[in-house]
């Protein structure tokens, strides 16, 4: 009790200035702390803002008072309220000569303003002056602001001073000057590119702190351009060695580790420099091995350094001994009780398995434990590891687990990611068609709204083309099983839109292909879908197009089309739809149904979604028609470039008509947008781009052409035009490594106490034959077919009959006139076909780039890879310039005085555990409870006590 009184007195005194803040501020903090609701807090803060607004403009405010106002402003803004009225006062404060006020002003402006704020111009002058100040604390404060508030335009104003400060006598200033220069480099590399050599020079600084600071910019520079810094390898290694040997001043020790943060930075840099470079790596082996041995694994920071060693070892040219040491550390991490260490262990394992896949098998049970751990972070990390080690033997278990996990997570961002990973793995390793379809169904069912539309298009393409195996029966089996499962699923309520689109497309394309289901059954289901999801126009569009295809296939097969009554009513309903796209589709449908078998076969050939289409870009088939018209007295066509005074209206119309067509080409509006964006990416297959672009002309100018029959003409005419999309299929069966892993089985036998269930899981994940063929080819040759499919199914249908139907009023010559401008302006300049191709391309790249990463390549291969590389990578050779050697000497001599105590005994000091290091939790809680009693912090029990004391 007496103690409490003392505290109360102390606090009361504090309120008069002991805390440096007035009673008002104390009251503010207190009342905000006690606020019961957000609204109450807001009210308090708003009234505080009013007070500040009034007070801050009063004349002759004492300095100390002004400082407090500014701090209060910062406080108010931290709570999320606008304090912009006070910015100018903070700026004014930076001009003050008093260090205290200046620092406060600088602190406030760094928190308030951004580098492009209008008020910055008022500070630049002050900064310039302060950078030249004799008082190093003022210089430091100014450098701090420079880091935060100088933008590309103002860099030149302060750059000379900052560079000068690199040679300042105080190490604190040098350090900050380096960081400021680094910041400039980040903001505008070009403005300081001539000064980059300064970082190298400062690496030789006598002060370890300054040297450590230079590692930050050097790390960035080396990340961008490794080869220019290879000469520093020896210096870095020697610095690291000196640190590891404890030759830095004692003050850099942290938890008995010598300068651990600098060690970490150096190891990161070495990892970059040694990657794929045998000669450079050889310099590192000794020192990294030393650190592995010396590192104290009882503290967080010791383990942080160990983890960094593993990262380094797995990045540089492999060394068997170091890999072994790394594996040992990983084992220790995974066996630890600490979740943090397990997390690091899993991450490290993910790095190491690239080099030695067998490491994973030693730790299979630990990995499974992590997978079942309640800690979400750990679980995700483990899934990442599994993703990296997926092969055809374990894909079923892994994807299954992933989906189970995916179903239960709420975080949409992560759900999307894991869903696309499932899809990727399933596409690459699927053991059977049936499994693949089932898996995709599950992914779409549970995350259909989250996966990217690209994934859906991929799936359609896969179903259309099969996995690239030679035999067609497998492909048709895949389709049948897809159709079968979709017909089963389609009745389920609330399916995601994207999934429905896939279903509709597949049913339209292959619903009746194997003859198992009748057209009327499938069309009935499609009509149900269109009915059930009447709000979703995209799904309805897909459904209508699917209906059209089914009818067409029926007609082509010579069967009579019987349209179900619900189908008829759907058609009627949609023909009056507000969506022009839907309307057009329905009109198309009606028009096509009326045609004879031969005609429909030309428009929509069955299972031809993957065929190439050739287009006559010269439109030679129109020549007769044009000639006729001219003879009848029609105006000859004048290209837009030769025309003057084009009417805006025609432009506009042209755009509309173009848009219509685009919508037909790419049914889904959002998809259309995506396509346009994709067009900015340079195409990888540029060979055909010019031709591809021109194909659009062909489409456009067919307007007003009398019959559909010319589609045949177009194909025959353009034989001169080669198909642009020809791609040689890649052979995927080259890399088969089917060696059974007996070792893992032996291991399992010895571990009796493990539950059989877990063992089974382990076996399915790690054991078994690790047959690891990636379906590199499965996506490889798909692009051509995929891109052309849209061509066929739409170009055929839209260009002829349907477009004609939608705009039947306009006379042909007009249409021709309008046709030309569209090619050149607005959306028309973007070529949909090319875009589509590009859209499909990334997936191909993505999947074909993968095989190296996943466990498919065997160890010898990697060795080979490395042995090839150094030869070319080091053409420059290793010359150790005198400057870098000197730098070492400098550092050594600079630190020589510190070496005396290098005989420090680690084991003697190893006792204090991690926990005793940090602030004592119990103490703090007690203290906090005490504070609460005094009524200052939230949920105070006894505010009265406080009130009494403060009056």
């Amino acid at each position: 009790m007496e103690q409490l009184k003392t505290i109360g007195r102390e606090l009361a005194m504090g309120s008069q200035g002991g805390f440096g803040q007035s009673k008002e501020f104390l009251d503010l903090v207190k009342s905000i702390g006690e606020a019961r609701s957000k609204a109450e807090e807001d009210r308090i803060v708003l009234s505080e803002i009013e007070t500040l607004k009034r007070r801050i403009v009063e004349p002759d405010i004492p300095r100390r008072k002004m400082k407090e106002y500014i701090i209060r402003l910062v406080y108010v803004e931290m709570l999320g309220h606008d304090a912009s009225f006070g910015y100018i006062h903070a700026v004014k404060m930076t001009h003050n000569d008093n260090l205290l006020l200046k620092r406060t002003g600088y602190l406030a402006v760094t928190l308030f303003l951004n580098e492009d704020h209008d008020l910055i111009i008022l500070i630049v002058n002050t900064i310039q002056k302060d950078l030249k100040s004799d008082n190093y604390l003022i210089v430091c404060a100014a450098l701090n602001v420079v880091c935060k508030l100088i933008n590309e335009e103002t860099i030149p104003a302060v750059l000379p001073q900052v560079v000068e400060l690199l040679g300042h006598s105080k190490e604190a200033v040098r350090k900050k000057a380096i960081m400021a220069l680094h910041r400039f480099y980040q903001k505008s590399p070009s403005s300081v590119s001539h000064l980059v050599s300064n970082f190298r020079k400062r690496l030789c600084d006598n002060d370890p702190g300054v040297m450590g600071a230079t590692l930050c910019p050097l790390f960035d520079l080396i990340t961008i351009d490794v080869n220019s810094y290879k000469d520093l390898v020896v210096s870095f290694v020697s610095i690291l060695k000196q640190i590891a040997e404890r030759r830095l001043p004692k003050s850099y020790d942290y938890h008995q580790m010598p300068a651990p943060f600098i060690q970490i930075k150096l190891l990161k840099i070495l990892a970059l420099l040694g990657s794929g470079d045998k000669q450079a790596s050889e310099h590192m082996y000794t020192v990294v091995g030393d650190i592995f041995r010396k590192c104290d694994s009882s503290s967080n920071i010791g383990n942080a350094v160990l983890y960094e060693c593993i990262s380094c070892v797995s990045a540089i040219y492999p060394n068997a001994k170091l890999l072994e040491a790394a594996a040992d550390v990983i084992a220790r991490f995974l066996k630890s009780d600490s979740h943090n260490l397990k997390y690091m262990g899993i991450d490290a394992l993910g790095r190491l398995i690239k080099l030695s896949p067998e490491v994973a098998e030693q730790h299979q049970l630990a990995v499974i434990d992590c997978l079942e751990d309640p800690d979400d972070t750990l679980k995700r990390k483990t899934f990442e590891l599994l993703y990296k080690m997926t092969k055809s033997s374990n894909v079923e278990v892994i994807v299954d687990r992933m989906i189970d996990y995916m179903i239960n997570i709420n975080d949409n961002h992560y759900k999307t990611e894991i869903a696309s990973r499932c899809v990727e793995l399933a596409e690459q390793f699927a053991p059977s068609n049936h499994w693949f379809i089932q898996t995709m169904n599950r992914v779409f069912e549970h995350a259909g709204d989250l996966v990217k539309s690209k994934v859906a298009h991929n799936l359609m393409r896969l179903i259309a083309e099969g996995f690239g195996e030679e035999d067609d029966t497998a492909d048709s089996q895949l389709r049948s099983s897809a159709v079968e499962s979709y017909l089963r699923i389609i009745g389920e309520p609330k399916l995601p839109s994207l999934f429905l689109q896939v279903i509709c497309w597949v049913l339209g394309e292959y619903g009746t292909a194997d003859g198992k289901f009748s057209a009327s059954y499938v069309t009935g289901k499609l009509c149900d879908v269109a009915d059930a999801y009447s709000n979703d126009e995209i799904v309805k569009s897909y459904a209508v197009t699917a209906l059209m295809k089914l009818f067409v296939f029926e007609i082509a097969a010579g069967r009579k089309v019987d349209i179900l009554p619900e189908c008829q009513s759907l058609i009627e309903e949609l023909s009056a739809s507000h969506s022009t796209d839907l309307q057009q589709r329905v009109y198309e449908l009606q028009a096509i149904i009326g045609l004879d078998a031969h005609a429909v076969e030309c428009i929509l050939p069955s299972d031809a979604s993957c065929e190439d289409i050739e287009i006559d870009k010269n439109l030679s088939f129109l020549n007769d028609y044009v000639q006729q018209s001219l003879e009848k007295g029609a105006q000859p066509y004048i290209p837009e470039s030769e025309r003057s005074g084009m009417l805006d209206i025609s432009n506009f119309q042209a755009k509309i008509s173009m848009k219509l067509q685009l919508m037909v080409l790419v049914p889904e509006p959002s998809y259309h947008r995506e396509v346009q964006q994709a067009a900015t990416v340079p195409s990888s297959s540029d060979t055909g781009s010019s031709e591809v672009k021109l194909r659009l002309d062909g489409v456009q100018k067919k307007w007003g052409r009398p019959t559909y029959s010319s589609s045949a003409a177009s194909t025959s005419n353009s034989s001169s035009q080669n198909t642009v999309y020809e791609v040689t299929p890649v052979d995927g069966s080259s890399n088969v490594n089917s060696k059974a892993r007996e070792a893992s089985y032996d291991l399992k036998k010895t571990q009796v106490e493990i539950s059989p269930e877990k063992q089974k899981l382990a076996a399915s994940l790690f054991g078994g034959t690790s047959k690891s063929e990636r379906r590199a080819s499965s996506t490889g040759h798909k692009v051509p077919k995929g891109s052309s499919h849209v061509l066929k199914s739409t170009a055929g249908s839209t260009t002829d009959v349907l477009v004609e139907k939608t705009t039947p009023v306009q006379p042909p010559p007009d249409l021709l006139d309008l046709g030309e401008p569209t090619i050149k302006d607005g959306p028309s300049s973007v070529d949909p076909f090319k875009q589509l191709e590009e859209l499909l391309d990334p997936t191909q790249l993505g999947s074909s780039a993968n095989p190296g990463i996943v466990g498919s390549t065997s160890a010898p291969d990697i060795m080979q890879l490395y042995s090839d590389k150094p030869a070319s990578g080091q053409s420059g050779g290793f010359m150790y310039p005198s400057s870098s050697n000197r730098s070492d000497d400098n550092l050594v001599s600079g630190l020589a005085n510190a070496t005396t105590d290098s005989a420090h005994n680690i084991t003697a000091a190893a006792h204090p555990s991690q926990f005793s290091k940090g602030p004592n939790l119990k103490d703090s809680l007690e203290k906090d409870a005490l504070v609460r009693q005094m009524g200052v912090t939230p949920s105070s029990q006894n505010p009265n006590l406080f009130k009494d004391l403060l009056g």
């Binding site: 505290i7 504090g14 002991g18 805390f19 440096g20 803040q21 905000i32 702390g33 100390r64 701090i71 999320g80 260090l99 620092r103 602190l107 303003l113 951004n114 604390l137 430091c140 701090n144 880091c147 350090k175 960081m179 370890p208 450590g212 600071a213 930050c216 790390f219 003050s251 850099y252 942290y254 300068a259 651990p260 943060f261 970490i264 503290s299 967080n300 920071i301 383990n303 942080a304 983890y307 960094e308 979740h339 943090n340 997390y343 690091m344 309640p374 800690d375 979400d376 972070t377 975080d411 949409n412 961002h413 290091k917 602030p919 939790l921 103490d923 203290k927 504070v931 912090t937 939230p938």
Partner: protein, 163 residues
């Protein structure tokens, strides 16, 4: 690079927030709220690391320390080591206050900023020697004290308790 440092109390009130890339006040509040939302849903005895892609964009990670009534949060990208950052938090507190509590932070707002500026400079970990940091902070404190008759950097709450 370190993207942000936050101190939030267990009721979700920010006690200190420093973002190394400029963000508007509203955006900052939003981030603080979402970080707090994620943190309070974490069980005890789990790891102190989190992936923060959904809050701070790709490749963001978050390390936090739940301590008495406070969460200390560091947000950074792949260039930092999680365990090291975890220690960075502890080191910071260790050296500044004997047993840090919420009050210390509220009332030493500007001091905490000073300390943080010594350790993290422009988003990079600048100085890691705690002795150096303390030296710098002490020097600033002394100077501030001499320019002002009143002590501005008080002892911690436990400081007066132990008297």
């Amino acid at each position: 690079m370190i993207k942000a440092v936050m101190v939030i109390n267990t009721q979700g009130k920010p006690r200190l927030a420093k973002f190394y890339d400029f963000l508007t006040v509203d955006k900052q509040q939003e981030l603080i709220r979402s970080v707090f939302g994620v943190l309070c849903s974490r069980a005890e005895n789990v790891s102190n690391f989190m992936e923060a892609d959904s809050i701070f964009g790709p490749d963001s990670r978050l390390v936090y320390k739940h301590y008495a009534t406070l969460y200390f949060v560091f947000v950074f990208d792949t260039c930092e080591n999680e365990l090291a950052v975890l220690d960075l938090i502890q080191e910071t507190l260790d050296k500044c206050f004997r047993n840090v509590c919420e009050l210390d932070i509220v009332f030493n707002y500007s001091k905490l900023h000073t300390i943080l500026d010594e350790i993290v400079f422009g988003g990079q970990v600048l100085e890691t020697s705690s002795a150096e940091i303390m030296k710098a902070v002490e020097e600033i404190s002394k100077l501030e004290a001499s320019s002002n008759s009143i002590t501005l950097v008080p002892k911690t709450v436990s400081g007066w308790r132990n008297r």
